[in-house]
Amino acid sequence: MTERAPDPRPADDTASGPAAEPRIVACNQKARQLAQMVLARRGGARALTQDPPPTQYPYGCTTVFAPGWEVDSGNGTHGLCQPIERDLYDCYHTCYWPAQVPDGVTNAPTWTQSCGAPMQDWKSIDLVFP
């Protein structure tokens, strides 16, 4: 993949000579933004200050201070266990209790997608097998 084809040769194609066509070229501005985002996400671990900066930052248990069961992650109490399914969301979205529910950051970002209104259709949230 390349934006505007600065290096037209795909990385895995060293034998086909210099004139090889790039597999994908991002043509318009939106495609270039998308390609930049994808390329930034690749390449293993990066420091947040590394250049170019990643377009998505990790969030969840590593960056949110959650004091415990007495308050929820928004520092209130009205969101706690009313009903218990609601707590599931708090654990999932903010990675509050990641060992007990699938985490929404890396492994199961679409876990609750089938569930529009958790109070009514929380049963549609399926199990996740590692």
């Binding site: 895995d12 994908i24 043509c27 318009n28 501005q29 939106k30 933004q33 994808v38």
Partner: protein, 476 residues
């Protein structure tokens, strides 16, 4: 895992393989092998990725390609919904443009007019009820309202509209002079524009407009025959002889003063002169910088409305004019076919609309009495009023309308590749046609898809042969 190509439009030809992705509005050029992968997964039931990979002669290479396409959102798990989008941008949305209907009177009596004719939206009697002219005080209040409602924007636009705008030149002058005084205090620059039928362009008015660098659009349908067919005075007499010398004077003065480009806006009706001929006349004979063509807005059954065949013909004629545009682009020259230029701009930026236009968002219309409507076409329609310039926007009503008008609520649009650009089309058109501004304009879907297709093929040709031309369309 079952994977499937997302909603997209593929273009394939001597200029290469391209795809326009409806979920992101990204345009990608693909090599033949990558295009073949995208096409293979374009199956209603999707494809099992593991089985497909095993069947490939070079599974390693195929996997890299597949992953690139997945990462770019071109291929996704079958049945998995796209991530939800916000229903509204953060509100109150800062205003960018205010359209002042300085008068609701007109000295012409065009047979297809949506303001006076059978399709008017105004709830009142006569033209559209309300006061005939906006007074200077309301014009100044409108400026105050725009300046204080435009948030952090450093640039705002005021567009004057009517009726025939120049029937109330006093309000235009008052508003412009007041805006010049007030804008500095807000640290904002103000752009002015106006639409006129050109019948009242005096030397004094031309001097004022060009001095303030107005963006000017002249409503004109073409040469004498075409203009006089629908654009008539109340007596039935055609307006060509009145407007032609005035337009020539305007264009000459503007050129002399190096003003902004002046456009002609042509309303296309049934049986109109071919687009290429009208374009040639308006640019070469009269000297307009650009020309935009708009199919007439009409309820079903109006004799001047474009039927299915009319739209097909218009699309063919757009195709002919597009050839001229592309030829100019390959020579790195601009061409005044405004519809195509606007479309190429949106394609190149990758515009993805949740709403068809800025009406109710960055743009509002003001009636002669200061009432706010979604846009200039909706002013004086009580049912679409969203506040007043004096009291401000009725945010609840505005948000309620916009939420309802979101493209995700238009089920007709869910399977259409053109949705990032069209988003269901003009609210006013839908109101005239279906009595509901939030409905999708399904009567012109084929026309929109055909026009976007035309734009995509022009885009691909320019991208392949002279990509530098497209950089002029880039958003900063």
């Amino acid at each position: 895992m079952q994977l499937r190509s997302v909603l997209h439009r593929r273009l394939s030809g001597e200029h290469g393989e391209f795809v326009y992705l409806a979920n992101s509005a990204a345009i990608l050029r693909l090599d033949a092998a990558t295009a073949a992968v995208l096409d293979a997964f374009d199956a209603a039931d999707g494809l099992d990725s593991a089985a497909w990979l095993n069947a490939q002669p070079e599974p390693g290479r195929a996997e890299t390609t597949l992953h690139d396409l997945i990462d770019l959102g071109a291929i996704r798990p079958l049945g998995e919904a796209e991530p939800p989008r916000p229903k509204l941008p953060p509100m109150p949305f800062p205003l960018a443009t205010l359209v002042l209907n300085v008068t609701n009177k007109c000295n012409l009596s065009c047979s297809y007019c949506y303001e006076y004719g059978e399709d008017k939206v105004g709830d009142g009697v006569g033209s559209s009820g309300g006061k005939a002219r906006m007074d200077d005080q309301t014009a100044r209040q409108s400026i105050d309202f725009l300046l204080r409602s435009s948030g952090a924007r450093d640039q705002v636009s005021i567009t004057f509209f009517g009726g025939e705008t120049l029937l109330n030149f006093d309000a235009i002058r008052a508003a412009t002079e007041y805006a010049e005084q007030q804008s500095a205090g807000f640290g904002k620059r103000v752009h002015y524009s106006l639409t006129t039928n050109a019948t009242l362009l005096t030397d004094e008015i031309v001097d004022f407009l060009t001095r303030h660098r107005f963006g000017i659009t002249v409503s004109i349908d073409g040469d004498r025959d075409e203009q006089d067919r629908h654009r008539t005075f109340k007596s039935g007499k055609g307006s060509f002889d009145v407007v032609e010398p005035r337009i020539r004077h305007l264009l000459a003065t503007n050129k002399e003063r190096r003003g902004r480009s002046i456009g002609a806006r042509v309303t296309v009706t049934a049986g109109a002169t071919p687009v290429v001929d009208t374009f040639r006349y308006l640019t070469e004979e009269l000297g307009f910088d650009e020309v935009g063509f708009a199919p007439v807005t009409a309820a079903l059954g109006r004799s001047y409305g474009l039927g299915e065949q009319g739209y097909e013909r218009l699309l063919r004629e757009f195709g002919e004019l597009a050839e001229h545009y592309v030829a100019a682009a390959l020579r790195d020259e601009t061409h005044g076919f405004a519809n195509l230029g606007d479309l190429l701009r949106e394609l190149h930026q990758g515009v993805q609309k949740a709403h068809p236009c800025g009406a109710g968002l960055g743009l509002l219309g003001v009636s002669t009495e200061g009432e706010l409507g979604l846009c200039h076409r909706f002013v004086e329609s009580k049912s679409h009023a969203v506040g007043t310039v004096q009291a401000g926007v009725d945010e609840q009503k505005r948000s309620a309308f916009l939420e309802q008008a979101h493209v995700d609520n238009k089920t007709d649009c869910t399977q259409c590749f053109a949705r990032p650009l069209c988003a269901g089309g003009c609210y006013h058109e839908a109101h005239v046609r279906y009595g509901d501004a939030t409905r999708a304009n399904v009567h012109y879907c084929e026309w929109i898809r055909g026009f976007v297709d035309l734009g995509l093929s022009c885009y691909a040709r320019i991208q392949a042969a002279n990509p530098r031309f497209l950089t002029r369309f880039e958003a900063q």
